[in-house]
Subunit: 355 residues, 2 copies
């Protein structure tokens, strides 16, 4: 696969890079940004001239729609550097499609493929130095779109800003991850926006997650809001459950984000003979499996965290600890995926795209 | 009731007002703003110095949390001018309480009552000229708070901006309002943020509302997301149904905003001998009542629109037109409420507060 890189972009470079002031061994996820950003505005019914320019704050009116009505979407992707200093993206077509699916659900204009892909390509190309070699080093890529039109009336904006910013990153989580299974709070409604990467979905989880943190748990596994009997996904990860030697994960739906990591792990598992069942996963069956010892692993899957093993979970005030396991599917799949991303294993699926 | 107005605020005035350039007879709701705005930032665990200054755009980092995670809440209130040129607020205590309830649900810091009330008081006092006399003329007040801390990591911000902006306004809706009863899309989940005035709740409705608009309907009456059998509320209004001579409205819940207009109308109706039942309202019973002729009125209630009569609704592709009615409860209650707000009738409840 290759990127459409035909869109003309005005480029204004910084006079001097700040890269030398960055400690790449001690990065806090999502807080350090590269020298430049990509910006393209939508006005008068169409996308305007695209620009790459020095990363900097910008002005917005106090009545900008994004402040009042949360009309905002984003994507999360990563770039990887291989041993020959080439820089690679992983399935950018998937992020592009999902971005426009989110845009549609939030009544925002879809972004042209040429603008999205050329923006990615030319911005990352300019910032190659920020992508460091070595497993675990990545450049986190954040495409996003916000409603910049003004007016405190609850209706879609007529003006939008599409941007891409880049942040060098190590892995997202550190330490052991314990989760709570949601019994009261929820992240998504039937007929709601759960399947969109819409800004409002994330802040909605902050308070319940804070309550979980206070009880010593890092994350919540959300359940369906109507019955709280089906296990859906975590804050920024889809979730897999291993019972004996089968992996289970919920089908995506209008409540669940269609994760790129999730679908890639499913393909990898299937290719390599691991049994995967995509079907609703009930809280009840996981509790039973935990009790009878057949529940071997739970792990989250998402771009930021890649694969995140979960060491235990709480449900109805009982804590269930997962066994320490030898041949972990989580670690096996993580390794397989990571090797493809860093070009250390053959990419039989054609997922990687060179910048 | 009186406002706590003891908080010290730095005031910087505009050099010349733009008021003379405003056509107060032709205002589009929410698009014209007064000369000044109120701003107070939260940093290092506390609210900083409050300021009133010229209305103007401000700078934000591209990674500001409000852009990525929708951590943003707001309120909507109005100021009214009476015949003696005094300016009045309507139940500001209710908006203040709801603001902090929203803040809590969105993991944002609560605003001190003194800051909220002094901000309202001193800003509106400065902008008295913008509040015009005469029924229907109001100054729409928009307190809001956004997460201004930076970082693309899905966790609460540590920095926030609380602002108040003011917009002179006539009534919100014009023309006849027809609604669709939601059968697939939803605005709120059980255990979600529906009861908070959180930004993300509003953009979530834009797409389904656009679909409704395309079919010739202005608004949607949302139903519970699990079964779509209970009538809940509209985009920015609570909803009342009159069957024979009784008014029905859904109880507020974690899915429904606790509207100030709704609760005031309930009190007014009760005071004046109109039968009100606050209980779940089923789609089924409204359809039956529409068929047998006992459904007399449906109306929305909210600060922007005050009371908004609905002329008909669609459900399962059938359109039900409401009868033209002589002694409309909607218009009667609207008049009673409006008269209190403009100090044309005695405020037996102590709802109005002088600036
Ligand atoms: C809610 C949610 N679920 C799952 C994921 C995982 O998706 P992906 O693997 O595409 O990063 C994300 C994204 O990071 C997410 O925000
Ligand atoms: C979702 C929603 N429901 C109802 C209302 C009505 O509330 P109030 O009467 O306090 O304006 C509003 C606010 O405008 C709202 O946003």
């Amino acid at each position: 696969m290759s990127l459409k890189n035909t869109h003309e972009i005005d480029i204004v470079r910084v006079s001097s890079s700040k890269i030398d002031s960055v400690d790449f061994d001690n990065l806090t996820f999502g807080t350090t940004f590269t020298d430049h950003m990509f910006v393209c505005d939508f006005r008068e019914g169409k996308w305007q001239k695209a620009e790459i320019k020095p990363y900097a704050p910008f002005l917005l009116d106090p009545s900008a729609k994004v402040f009042h009505y949360g009309q905002a979407i984003f994507e999360g992707m990563k770039a990887y550097k291989d041993e020959s200093d080439d820089v690679w993206l992983f399935r950018p077509d998937q992020n592009f499609e999902r971005f426009n699916k989110s845009a549609k659900r939030m009544a925002m204009p879809e972004v042209d493929e040429e603008i999205f892909m050329s923006g990615l390509h030319q911005l990352i190309d300019l910032e190659r130095e920020w992508v460091k070699k070595g497993l675990g080093n990545t450049l986190y890529i954040r495409p996003f779109m916000i409603a910049i039109g003004s007016g405190v009336i609850a209706a879609p904006s007529t003006q939008y800003r599409f941007m891409i910013i880049l942040s060098p990153a190590k892995s997202y989580y550190s330490g052991e991850v314990k989760v709570i299974i949601a019994e009261h709070y929820s992240r998504a409604a039937n007929g709601g926006i759960g399947a969109a990467k819409a800004a409002g979905n994330y802040s909605a989880q902050f308070y319940p997650t804070k309550l979980a943190n206070e009880r010593g748990f890092q994350q919540i596994i959300w359940t369906d809001d109507a019955t709280h009997t089906k296990l859906e996904e975590a804050g920024t990860m889809n979730v897999f459950f291993r019972i004996n030697d089968t992996l289970y994960t919920a089908p995506t739906s209008e409540r669940i984000l269609d994760g790129v990591t999730r679908k890639s792990l499913i393909d990898l598992a299937k290719r390599d003979g691991i049994d995967v069942a995509v079907r609703p996963v009930l809280v009840e069956e996981i509790i039973e499996a935990a009790k009878d010892g057949s529940l071997k692993e739970i792990f989250g899957a998402g771009t930021a965290a890649v694969v995140n093993p979960i060491v235990g979970f709480s449900y109805q005030d009982t804590y269930y600890e997962l066994p320490k396991i030898e041949n972990s599917f989580a670690l096996l799949l993580k390794e397989k995926l990571t090797k493809i991303q860093y070009k250390l294993a053959e990419d039989t699926f054609g997922w990687t795209v060179k910048i």
